[in-house]
Every structure is written in structure tokens, then in C-alpha cells.
């Protein structure tokens, strides 16, 4: 392995152009590291804020609801906001990015774990993300229909709303479970291909 041949000469003879000076590169490194931390903090904050807003809006609607069924439905949606936020904070975080100072084999395993975790999360989105608020909305709609028909009003606006949010939920389901999960599976396969071109699977 120690022979210094043409390949070594070509390799070591490469001039890579003027790299950034140490101090400049340090400034860039610190800025990039800080930007990464800011992104994570912002994402966590957005998730919490989203959950709180949904919970507040539907708690208010529950308070305004005309009957127990609608109130129960709205409260369920409000609780779902809190639940989803909790779930995302508790389980939704991807396993921490693998420390880059691991050897290649460990790093690959950690990356694969990260992908598997994300794929599992997306595949289960219907249970922890979609079902609770959807059931709540259905109950609330049923309660509102009941209240409107009792007053002799048309139920059509509620039925149209049901159709619209059902379509939205179905789209979100497809987006997560089919589209996003497939994209991640492709990334995982690319990683495997890069790492184990002869095996294809770890």
C-alpha cells in the first residue's frame, strides 16, 4: 500500500485553488452551525405554536357549540392539537443526526436508523396525526347538522364542509404515507447503494 506511484503523484499534485483563510472559514463555520441550531429551534417553536392555535380555536368553538355532540367534537379536535404537538415533540423528532466522527459503518447504520424512523412516522400518520382531529371534526359536524335540522335549517353547508375536510385529510394522508414515504425510501435505497453497491441491502 505504501508505493508512491502515478496515482499518488497526480493526487498530491492537485492544487485546489485558494481556500478561505482560517479566520474566514471559522466565521463561515460558526455561522453555518448557528443557522442549523436556529432552524431546529424555529421548527420546534412552529410545531408548538400550531398545536396551541388549533387547541385555542377549537376550545373556543366548543364553548360556542349548540349541543353536546358538537362540543365534544370540537373538544376532541382541540385535544388533538395538544396531542399532535406532544407526539411530535416526544416521538416525532428524528433520531439525532448521527455524530459525524463515527466510522463509516456506524455512521451508515445511524443514517439508516434515521430514515427508518422517519418512514415509520410517515406510514403511521393516519393514526397519530389524522384520525384524532378527523373523528373530532366528524362529531362536531354531526352535532352542527343536528342543531341546524332541529331549527329547520339546511344541513348542506355542513355536508359540503365535511366533504372538503375529508378531501383535505385524504390528500394529507396520501402526501405523507405514499409520496413522502416513497421519497424517503428512495433516499434510503440510494444510501445503501452508495455504501454497499454489491449487496443492495443492509
Amino acid at each position: 500500500m505504501a508505493d508512491r506511484d502515478e496515482l499518488n503523484e497526480l493526487w498530491c499534485g492537485q492544487s485546489v485553488g485558494p481556500p478561505l483563510k482560517g479566520e474566514d472559514m471559522l466565521a463561515v463555520a460558526i455561522e453555518r452551525a448557528n443557522r442549523f441550531d436556529r432552524t431546529i429551534r424555529l421548527r420546534n417553536w412552529r410545531e408548538c405554536a400550531g398545536g396551541v392555535v388549533v387547541a385555542a380555536i377549537f376550545a373556543f368553538l366548543a364553548w360556542q357549540s349548540p349541543n353536546a355532540l358538537a362540543r365534544g367534537g370540537h373538544l376532541l379536535v382541540a385535544a388533538s392539537g395538544v396531542w399532535i404537538t406532544y407526539y411530535l415533540l416526544r416521538y416525532g423528532k428524528e433520531p439525532k443526526a448521527p455524530p459525524p466522527d463515527r466510522n463509516l459503518a456506524d455512521f451508515q447504520r445511524a443514517l439508516l436508523r434515521k430514515y427508518d424512523h422517519q418512514i415509520r412516522l410517515l406510514k403511521n400518520v393516519k393514526y397519530w396525526y389524522l384520525l384524532p382531529p378527523y373523528v373530532g371534526l366528524l362529531l362536531a359536524s354531526a352535532g352542527l347538522i343536528q342543531a341546524h335540522t332541529a331549527k329547520g335549517q339546511s344541513a348542506w353547508p355542513q355536508l359540503i364542509a365535511m366533504a372538503v375536510y375529508t378531501a383535505v385529510f385524504a390528500f394529507v394522508w396520501w402526501l405523507n404515507e405514499t409520496y413522502a414515504a416513497r421519497k424517503l425510501q428512495e433516499k434510503r435505497a440510494r444510501l445503501l447503494q452508495e455504501m454497499n453497491p454489491s449487496n443492495g441491502e443492509a
Binding site: L10, W11, Q14, V16, G22, P100, D101, L111, L191, E194
Partner: protein, 185 residues
């Protein structure tokens, strides 16, 4: 409290000093490594900055269990692999032209220099086309790391590294010969 802040400042200053020392020492090697992963100058610079950021983040946790060199190469290669996967995805959408690492100087021996530069371009392109594991082994070998050091960086046993290297080196030489034969026609 004042002592705590002073201690933090001292710690920060020593991290900065360590970063600068490591970077100054390994900048040329990291530049070559970037060339083995990214074809365009823009991507290489971006990759170098990513590696520098990862180095800065990892520095406080460095415990000297591994040698500084193997520790740095682990970080650099792992960052490069993940960054390359992103760049490859981007490259599938927009085909970026390859930028030569550096223009050869003109003057006496310019022809020799051009020839060497062309071979170098072929070598780097061939290395970039290798699977990640082989690419990593190749770069480490060409940077002069021993079999044991390569094992420490990759986690692949020294014997397996030697076997792979024999195959890879033959492949790289073949790539250069094929290109030379093509140009000579």
C-alpha cells in the same frame, strides 16, 4: 459568575485556536477530499464549508480517543457523503458542468502541465464515480493513511481494505489509460 464567564471565554478561545490550527494544517487535504466528492468549484467550496461547520460543532466533544487525523477524516467523509447525496439529487435536475480543480500554469513545461492536469481530471472523475466506501478508502490511501488508520476511519478491516485497494487502483489506472488511448487516436 464572573469566573464562570471567564472560563467559558477561555474555553471558546481555545476551541477557536484548535479549529484554526486543524484547519490550517489540513486545508489542502480537505480541498483534495472535496474534489473527490464534488465536481464543480461551487459544490467543492460548499462542501468545504459544511465540513468546517461539522468540525466546529464536533470540536467540543473531541476526546482524543482517536488520533486527530482519523477523527477529522471521519467527520469530513461522513459530511461529504451526506452532502454528495444531496448534490447528486440536485445534479439529476440540473446538469452542472465539471470545473477543473485548478488551471495549469502557462510557460515552460505547459504541455506537460496540461497533460498532468488532464490525467488528474480523469483520476478525480474516476474517484467520484466510485461507491462511497471505495471512494473513502481511495482518498484516505492517497492521502497517505496507513491500513490501520483507514480501518479506524471506515470500520473496515485492514485486510479487506488492502484487497479493495488493489482492485480500485487497477480500476483507476485503467480509467486513465483508456482515456489516454482515446485521446491518442
Amino acid at each position: 459568575m464572573v469566573a464562570e464567564i471567564a472560563g467559558q471565554e477561555q474555553h471558546g478561545a481555545s476551541l477557536r485556536a484548535a479549529f484554526l490550527r486543524i484547519y490550517e494544517q489540513y486545508a489542502p487535504a480537505l480541498g483534495r477530499l472535496a474534489g473527490a466528492y464534488a465536481a464543480t468549484r461551487e459544490d467543492r467550496e460548499d462542501l468545504l464549508q459544511e465540513i468546517a461547520a461539522a468540525l466546529w460543532r464536533a470540536l467540543p466533544d473531541y476526546r482524543a480517543e482517536a488520533s486527530e487525523r482519523t477523527w477529522l477524516y471521519r467527520i469530513a467523509h461522513n459530511v461529504a457523503i451526506t452532502a454528495t447525496m444531496k448534490q447528486r439529487r440536485r445534479a439529476q435536475q440540473e446538469v452542472a458542468p465539471e470545473t477543473p480543480p485548478d488551471p495549469p500554469s502557462a510557460g515552460a513545461g505547459a504541455e506537460q502541465s496540461l497533460l498532468a492536469e488532464e490525467k488528474r481530471r480523469i483520476l478525480f472523475a474516476a474517484i467520484r464515480s466510485l461507491p462511497a466506501v471505495d471512494r473513502q478508502i481511495t482518498v484516505l490511501h492517497l492521502e497517505g493513511l496507513s491500513g490501520a488508520e483507514i480501518e479506524a476511519v471506515t470500520g473496515i478491516a485492514e485486510g479487506a481494505v488492502a484487497t479493495r485497494l488493489t482492485r480500485i487502483r487497477a480500476k483507476l489506472r485503467q480509467a486513465i489509460r483508456t482515456q489516454e488511448a482515446g485521446d491518442g487516436r
